[in-house]
Symmetry: C2
Subunit: 372 residues, 2 copies
């Protein structure tokens, strides 16, 4: 199969470009399966930013039924070449940051998944919107709420959809807990706890460069606890308090948070207690506590299988690579107008950014920040 | 055996009063065992306050090897009568709150365990100290640090020991984790989390009466998370922040806290995140996270068996009724000058109260309170 891919690619054509029937004898078993699943029109996606997370999404998309990786945008020619080879991407679907506005003239790309550093999301997402393509933007969608608002407005003005790269919102065990909460199975929700952290390596990476990251652990991993608090409790917080601890100011420079504890208050009386850190190993726990039951998840947001249990017993849904499900579901949202269990659009991402702004403000001013 | 107890009691005498040899044929098997274990002089304890927790301590003391319940102080004659029957307590060792200062003339009582409402601890502990008896005072030792300091000073002036009714400091699994931390097995300690709460019942009980309780959940159950943070991390906090949530102001009146989240910062860079509540079911979790390992305990402070594991595996120490171990160990501290793994004296209790004062202040003023 690899041989034929290379042949097709060297010939500058893809199976799709050849307009092969899904039952063509030229297609191998895997491709036939995928094409069968793609009886419906797939969402044809270009990935912008071919770093490690972009690569993870691309690999996951190999198993997608409704979404298909068809293009790339990168400043690094050697990466483009490698991806063309690996994913059978035609040259006409390859762009760099100088040329990607021309994507507007490319009828074979429906959407661009922006997976560049946080500090570039606004420029890139708006650039994609202005090229008339739907935007999927990795989270955090921006470095602050003001940028996020600009992005939401720009996508609205351009008439394209803006989705945020939420994985967990589509994960089966997570959804089961959300459904149980929606059905009132936990009773009145009283408490959510999220512990999100890991020890970040290479100190020269963009995630530790304020200009590119817009922050530190909060932007990267703490946001999972913010998301968790919101989708587990099912309300929007009305206040936030936060406390920062920085033990390694060499590694975590001005503006790059190492460890922040934050607390959220909710209109129904629930509270959330969360930890965001770049200095602790494998902190990945959610705990939702209601008057009549609880849910515990650990790992709660990692890439591997989520493990969890509720007062009713263990959660046994099979693991599916999160990004595979995410991209298929996002294809259905964009193409079919499917309504997800929990919103994943730009307005949702903006809510995260409003909270992150408030967390940083709470740290700086040392007081409770109201969100209403 | 019950028959003989009743006989001895009706005759107004106890086995001890009869000065029976431990090997006397008048003693049953259980008593012989206890007497054998009491080859060393036991700590002869009177319990002041015969409520539900006092009763729990008394039952646990039946299995003690070094401590012995020999007296009671209560304002309720019917309770005294029932305890005399149950515990074979001679009339000469029974007092009420008007007469207990006379305990100074009773050579058969070494120490008094004060288990009255928090708001009365200071008066009672100082009263016992002034009667020349050692004081064991249930926690919280007082309703604020100022009272606690008075108690420490009074006991020092009277030349008696003051111990605080810490159970967990002697519990085997808890001690194992503390020893592992002392041995550096977790590496640098980064995070402690304590969730302490339950749904309190009867709204008319003294624990919900500010005059008697001096506070709410924090005084009663949140203090376990404070203790846990201190003995698990092995440092004293340098700052505290706290946020209160009160959903039921009818049940939890002015000054009686329902739910407080609090955070502690430690000089070594660790942080603690804790929850204290009277409105959530069975919250009883500790989590200690270091650079090289972790400990999780759930239940972490309940009366039943503690369950826990570390990165090395499950903690398998057998369960012993906490108050049995506590009272035996306290006997060794008082009688032999034994040094406990973690201090349990009045100075230790005072540290709790300083933190509780700061938590209430942090809630009231909405800012970080320094503890140094």
């Amino acid at each position: 199969m690899k041989t034929r891919r290379i042949f097709l690619q060297k010939a500058g054509i893809s199976a799709l470009a050849l307009n092969l029937s899904p039952f063509s004898p030229l297609l191998g078993a895997n491709e036939e399966l995928n094409m069968n699943a793609m009886d419906e029109k797939p969402l044809r996606v270009a990935i912008m930013g071919l770093g490690s997370y972009g690569s993870r999404v691309a690999r996951a998309m190999k198993d997608c039924k409704r979404a298909k990786l068809v293009g790339v945008i990168s400043g690094t020619p050697s990466k483009i070449e490698a991806w063309q080879e690996e994913y059978n991407i035609p040259a006409k679907n390859c762009y760099n940051y100088e040329t990607y506005s021309q994507i507007k003239d490319n009828p074979d790309i429906d959407a661009v998944y922006v997976i560049t550093p946080n500090g570039l999301h606004k420029e890139h997402a708006i650039g994609v919107a202005n090229a008339g393509k739907h935007v999927i933007c990795e989270k955090p969608m921006a470095v602050n709420a003001s940028e996020a608002k600009e992005m939401v407005d720009a996508c609205k003005a351009a008439g394209v959809k803006l989705l945020i790269g939420y994985r967990m919102h589509f994960e089966a065990k997570t959804q089961e807990v959300i459904k149980m909460r929606m059905n009132g199975e936990f009773g009145k929700i009283l408490f959510f706890q999220g512990l999100s952290g890991f020890i970040i390596g290479d100190p020269t990476q963009w995630r530790l460069n304020y200009e590119l990251s817009g922050g530190g652990a909060m932007m990267d991993i703490g946001i999972y606890s913010i998301n968790g608090a919101r989708y587990m409790i099912g309300e929007e917080p009305i206040w936030v308090t936060a406390q920062e601890t920085k033990n390694n100011p060499e590694k975590f420079k001005e503006g790059v948070d190492e460890t922040i504890q934050f607390q959220l208050g909710f209109p129904g009386g629930a509270v959330a207690s969360c930890l965001s850190t770049y200095s602790m190993n494998n902190l990945d726990k959610f705990f939702l506590n209601g008057l009549n039951g609880f849910a515990e998840m650990q790992p709660s947001t990692g890439y591997g299988p989520i493990e969890g249990r509720t007062h009713k017993g263990p959660l046994n849904h099979p693991h599916v690579t999160h990004q595979t499900t995410q991209m298929d579901e996002m294809a259905a949202i964009i193409l079919d107008g499917k309504k997800p269990l929990v919103p994943v659009d730009g307005e949702e991402g903006l809510k995260d950014m409003v909270i992150i702004d408030a967390i940083y403000k709470a740290v700086k001013e040392g007081r409770k920040i109201s969100l209403v």
